[in-house]
């Protein structure tokens, strides 16, 4: 397998290698299905899936080990656009996308589609405003761009702070998700699952940095997309919605809208509360008639989009392409691969809901006798870990819509069991969720550790450090930050989707305006950028604190998931005003901006700065 180390040869053979890998993975799934028929237990199958895939990632991580700076920080800048698109898609789609999003749509209905729109449309901003220019710049990290474009250690330091606040919030949610899945599959306590997940994450990234993360992320994308699509296709065929559910589940939406009044969804409220789980009370396709509902939808979309375009672990993926043009087309490919999952999520939520509600389907539980429902295996299993509850509130022995309680996060993981699919599919979905959470955690940990090792240590503290020392420092930081993340995750402070939304709001508050204006406004200068970052992050955080813990009434529906709107507006005002009050940047800086705007010519920063 030495071809992994001969980069030239490896990148020439990418299609062949990953086709082989995909075939091998599918063969593994078939093998597991056969073993299941032969009597292998569900627990062993789950264990095999998670164990086998993590072993493969770790192998890729080990084979991609490197001691070269540009291989460690930017994968040697030789990742072709399509593969970088897959890696970005894995980097992007986290536990929140894979595990929580469909569950959110299941529970919340139309308003949750704001995540679907926001997490895809953000890439339009990345492609048009950011990625090609940052690639031309030749930076290793996002603070590297801020520090060089605006000059000075203060600007660089502010960017590091924003990066850490946003990425660390995000990474704890991912380690949380790996811990949840690991504890479920390996049947170990959640706390131990978190540390197990961390070891898996570090195996992928520690030895090879960005190069290792890139090639494991491609492998993880393949696993997660197969795991997400198969159950949906399967359910669709069984429910007679055709072979391509994404096009034809309109009938399923219509059927749910027909069932909702019959089952009194939204009118029959739960009469008791059970901690951690909730009953379905929202209509599936009702966006709400008020202007406030529309406003809340578009502000959430805006937060997710501007956050996308400011999150360092995403932007840094586009530093790895060979050319500026490749960076641009790589964004388009990323969005394509992401859309494959995102346009399936609402279909999954719809079909799963129909499995539960529709009395014509054998799997339905609403309207059935409580005793029968409680005898179902999946109800018992998820009930035992507190993820769902069935309670006969009115004592009539029949399960009503307000008597079935569920934690939205489990919808995707439980769907194969709800739909009565073989356990091999559940094992596959667990492996997919693990891949999604691990790949994102890897990207985030690397973004934080690289900012600290490259920008803080090398650029600000010890500019004469030799290559070997820089790379060792980078790795030590990676382990320390990972451990800190696992420690915070094991405290379970917030839910997965909430923490992720905060990360987006932090990133957009502090970084969006300085990044965009750094390219698109030549006049933008250092004091302006510093003011933009400090005021943006400061006002956003303050608003979050006041709304979430300070008892303040949110302004026109801007709750704690949307505080980035406040942050980014303050940041823009502060940056523009301060820039105009101070003198324009030096001639060299302005020439540099001119140079960033054209694709041809050498990068601004040399290849091993």
């Amino acid at each position: 397998m030495s071809f992994f180390r001969l980069q030239g040869k490896f990148t020439d053979n990418l299609v062949k290698i990953y086709a082989l890998y995909t075939g091998g993975f599918l063969a593994f799934v078939v093998l597991m299905a056969i073993f299941e028929q032969m009597g292998m237990t569900a627990d062993t199958i789950g264990l095999c899936f998670v164990g086998f895939t993590i072993f493969i990632y770790a192998l890729i991580g080990w084979l991609s080990r490197t001691m070269q700076v540009d291989a460690y920080y930017v994968a040697g800048r030789e990742v072709p656009p399509v593969f970088n698109g897959m890696a970005t898609a894995a980097d992007w789609m986290s536990g929140a996308s894979f595990v929580a999003m469909a569950g959110g749509i299941y529970m919340g209905g139309h308003p949750y589609l704001a995540f679907v729109v926001g997490w895809t449309g953000g890439y339009v901003l990345v492609a048009i405003l950011m990625a090609p220019y940052l690639r031309k710049f030749g930076c290793y990290t996002v603070p590297d761009f801020i520090g060089t474009r605006y000059g000075g250690n203060v600007a660089r330091f502010c960017a590091i702070v924003v990066l850490i606040v946003a990425s660390f919030t995000y990474v704890t949610a991912q380690i949380d998700a790996t811990g949840t899945i690991a504890s479920r599959v390996l049947q170990i306590p959640y706390g131990a699952g978190v540390w197990f997940g961390l070891v898996g994450i570090l195996l992928c990234s520690m030895l090879g940095g960005m190069r290792a993360v890139t090639w494991t992320q491609v492998a993880q994308y393949i696993v997660l997309i197969i795991a997400y699509l198969i159950p949906v296709f399967w359910m669709s065929i069984r429910q007679d919605f055709g072979w391509f559910p994404q096009l034809s589940y309109g009938d399923a939406v219509a059927r749910i809208q027909e069932l909702e009044p019959m089952l009194q969804v939204g009118t029959l409220k739960p009469t008791e509360t059970i901690a951690g789980v909730a009953a379905l009370t929202n209509l599936h396709a009702n966006p709400g008639d008020s202007a406030l509902a529309a406003w809340k939808f578009v502000t959430l979309v805006a937060c997710m989009m501007l956050g996308t375009a400011s999150l360092p672990h995403i932007l840094m993926r586009y530093f790895t392409t060979p050319t500026v043009k490749a960076a641009r087309s790589s964004v388009a490919w990323s969005l394509f691969f992401i859309t494959l999952l995102y346009f399936t999520a609402p279909a999954l939520a719809t079909l799963t809901k129909l499995q539960i509600l529709d009395p014509n389907l054998a799997t339905s539980i609403i309207g059935k006798a409580i005793a029968d429902v409680q005898a179902l295996e999946w109800i018992q299993k998820w009930g035992a870990v507190g993820m769902l509850a069935v309670s006969d509130s009115n004592g009539d022995g029949i399960l009503q819509i307000n008597e079935f309680f569920l934690r939205p996060d489990i919808v995707v993981l439980a769907t194969p069991e709800i739909a009565g699919l073989p356990y091999v599919i559940s094992g596959l979905v667990a492996a997919g969720g693990m891949a999604a959470a691990m790949s994102t955690a890897d990207g985030l940990l690397l973004a934080i550790a690289n900012a600290l090792s490259h920008d803080l240590y090398y650029k600000m503290i010890d500019p004469h450090a030799e290559t070997k020392k820089r790379l060792i420092v980078a790795r030590i930081l990676l382990v320390i930050i990972g451990a800190a993340g696992a420690l915070v995750a094991s405290l379970k402070l917030t839910g997965i989707l909430g923490a992720v939304a905060w990360a987006f709001c932090f990133a957009m508050s502090g970084l969006f305006v300085p990044l965009v204006l750094g390219v698109w406004w030549k006049r933008a200068n250092r004091p302006g950028a510093i003011a933009g970052m400090i005021v943006g992050l400061g006002s956003g955080s303050l608003y979050l604190y006041l709304v979430k813990w300070g008892g303040m009434t949110p302004w026109i529906g801007l709750d704690d998931l949307r505080f980035g709107i406040v942050g980014v507006v303050c940041s823009a005002v502060a940056m523009v005003v301060v820039t105009l009050m101070t003198k324009e940047p030096e001639k060299e800086i302005q020439d540099m901006v001119d140079e960033v705007r054209v694709p041809s010519g050498a990068t601004i920063l040399s290849s091993s700065h």
Partner: protein, 87 residues
Amino acid sequence: MSQMSAENRQGHWRKTRRLMFVHLAIWFVFAYLIQWFASDLNQFRFLDFPVGYYMAAQGSLYAFVIQLFIFVKQQDAIDREFGVAEE
């Protein structure tokens, strides 16, 4: 950067900027405008979907993907026109 005339540079940036505004306008329509009127659009059906739901769950996503592949082509054409494409 010396081999490029200031005029050429300005022309390239003017066209790049215009392309940026055009695409951001399209993006704005699909990301915000259509979503704002989801409730009204739900009165109509497309492939049996309520249209407001469809646009949020799928329609806008297709628009973004197609838009980006077209953008890549257009920006590359501009770079070539002004001789600033790579190679």
